[in-house]
Subunit: 302 residues, 3 copies
């Protein structure tokens, strides 16, 4: 009896088992620029659920601004590291649908999988999670049956379908398609650097809900410049070379280190140097945007 | 031992078993016009989860414009066919709540179930999926206990509750209530037709995120008129009989068949004739809307 | 064999088992003011899913207006009672992040758990569900590993992590941290009362999707004042003591008790006295808002 029970336990814990009950250890996480007003995302999830009801279906966001590959790259990089090893992401921000852009699945060095058009969406995770291997989706095999006549909804018929089959263990990573040796497409952007106590970086994104300004300057560069909590820092923000903002700001642990309505610098949840206003919007107050061409310079005040 | 294991496997795979672990093969998919700003949809899901934690709870959309039954019919038809047989849908767009409109559950010919007020929400799935049987919800049985004093939230107390019980196998379809022989309520709309090489149809909906214009003209009518990819077609759009747009457009496989900013016709993910602008909005550019009275005529250019 | 099967059944049904397959009986339900445009909510869910893939992850809303603790309290109270006993809620509306506000988990008298900053979010559930016990989160134990350098995303690193561990049974409620005897923070608001046939209460919230006005006057006060369906009631709405609206309205079972475009009073899904317009918005039509200072007086018309 005890032996019997042990066997049952082994069966129930076996992650690679085909039993729907057990396979719940894998998540399939979607990101698109489709919005949630129509039935497109639901159709993608229906296809995935049809592959296997045991996959857990979740989301990053479906509110990527239409065709904005940079923001897709950013949101993916923001959320993906917090999902467990083995999680499969499907990102569909695809202005080149139907063009010659490749449909790929990458395995990261951290053991995550990402299904996406090869258009720059992987730019940031390539740096933070690392790319171990890239495979091109073989649509002769990895395409929803009876969908061959539709040329426009790759997100549902190829990406969701392939991601679900990978998450459910119906196919292995090798069975996605042939291995690509040529590397992936990356978007250009300004990397953080330090020169003579001056840290330069890019304003990656606005924390839209609150109007905070997030840079790509990591905590290491801040710490190496001997900037500590409570210190004052000088900040200069330029757009295409023209000054937009300059000021002396506290480097705080939290917004409440400054009075309401006052600006502060801090490390955000990604541990990057950021700017905010206690109970307000830095972006609105000082007319600051994000993306290519938005440069920030930071130095410790003397 | 081997026999024992076989039995265990049979138990674990038995889809109709009452074990919550196994019942995960059924999804309950919600659609409403409630939005997601308040707690209403969550209360519906809480009721469903209370019926059985093993049902997988998903969504089509909760952003149907308030009281817009036509769009509810359209979104349901867009997403439902991609969910597996046995899936239960709960659609609550219900301007007549509390009136004499019936609360029903239909079984489609494809084996899906839809819980909805009988107000026209089923107009389109009735054509694409077929209606096999209609039952009226017997609220004496199929109503959340202790909810009897509330007259206004049928979505939670009757529809979510009944849908969850059906999805979890707590009740059979027969136990929903008495069979209705009178058929379902349908909304009037212009069906697609062909006369002397001229295809006429309805503009069903705008693909709001991108501004694409979707008609109810299927690929068969296009193909039967010998319209092939790369051909030019003449398009005339009228609203209540007055011309809104006319032009000669390419019938493309994808948006990238035309330069950026240029209009194109194509088959959308439902394989219906549609109009878009590469990296732009056809609806905005040419002031085109959708719904009753929006007629489109298409013919192959000679 | 029969004994064997019984044991298997017991194993499979045992809610406290560590097997992921079985633990699906607990839901973890999130509420924030983060919105869904970025990856923050997904990162929280990734952390929770990493704790255990068997927890069911759901939402109340992520569209609480930024820093609006009152609305967080209201939405939590609206949805929580419909989730089963044992459900764990994580509410992160936290203007005081990084200040001295405590991070707590409460067990309600109904057997639900709520993880939240102690800032007033529990004001309303304290009345409707009751607070049985309050514990302060011991971050030395209950904090995502390797997150110690980030000072700003408690929602992910402490609240989602602790909520998931509690929902998955990794920790017991006692293991959250030390018991607090001091009670919780509550927001002030006007309680409903009756004086000489005049019922006075607060306008708690607008049903934003439809523009309905919801008060905190329960059905008991209405019934005790002999107000029955079909009766006329006199309604006076004041903001900070100044009259905004007054009128004689039907107390209806549903909106369709009055013609389209006409106002009506009714019991909403929480069984509270409310005001709406059939196919319209009471709030827009009569410029009515909600929150502190919005007082309503109701009496039966004679």
């Amino acid at each position: 009896m005890i032996i019997m029970l042990r066997i049952i336990f082994v069966i129930m814990l076996a992650g690679t088992s085909g039993l729907s009950c057990l396979a719940q250890s894998r998540a399939l996480v979607f990101q698109t620029d489709f919005g949630l007003k129509d039935g497109a995302v639901s159709a993608m999830k229906g296809v995935a659920f049809s592959v296997s009801p045991s996959i857990a279906l979740y989301d990053i966001t479906h509110d990527i601004p239409p065709y904005n590959i940079w923001e897709a790259a950013y949101r993916l990089n923001q959320a993906a590291p917090y999902w467990p090893v083995g999680t499969v992401f499907v990102s569909v921000v695809d202005p080149g649908v139907g063009s010659s852009r490749k449909s790929i699945v990458v395995k990261t060095k951290t053991g995550h999988f990402i299904v996406t058009p090869d258009n720059g969406t992987l730019t940031l995770v390539a740096e933070t999670m690392g790319i171990e291997e890239v495979r091109e989706i073989d649509e002769a095999v990895n395409r929803l049956k009876n969908s061959g006549q539709s040329y426009t909804f790759h997100g549902r018929d190829v990406y969701a379908y392939t991601g679900a089959r990978l998450a459910a263990g119906v196919i292995t990573f090798d069975q996605v398609g042939k291995r690509l040796e040529s590397g992936i497409v990356k978007l250009p952007y300004q990397s953080p650097k330090v020169q003579q106590d001056l840290i330069t970086g890019n304003i990656d994104i606005l924390d839209v809900q609150y109007g905070n300004v997030w840079t790509n300057i990591g905590q290491d560069l801040i710490r190496n410049s001997s900037i500590n909590y409570g210190d004052k820092v000088h900040v200069l923000i330029k757009k295409d070379g023209k000054k937009v903002y300059s000021g002396e700001l506290i480097f705080g642990k939290t917004f409440s280190d400054v009075p309401e309505g006052k600006p502060v610098t801090y490390l955000n949840s990604l541990l990057n140097f950021s700017l905010g206003v206690n109970m307000g919007s830095f972006a609105d107050l000082f007319h600051v945007g994000s993306g290519s061409g938005w440069i920030i310079e930071v130095s410790k005040s003397r």
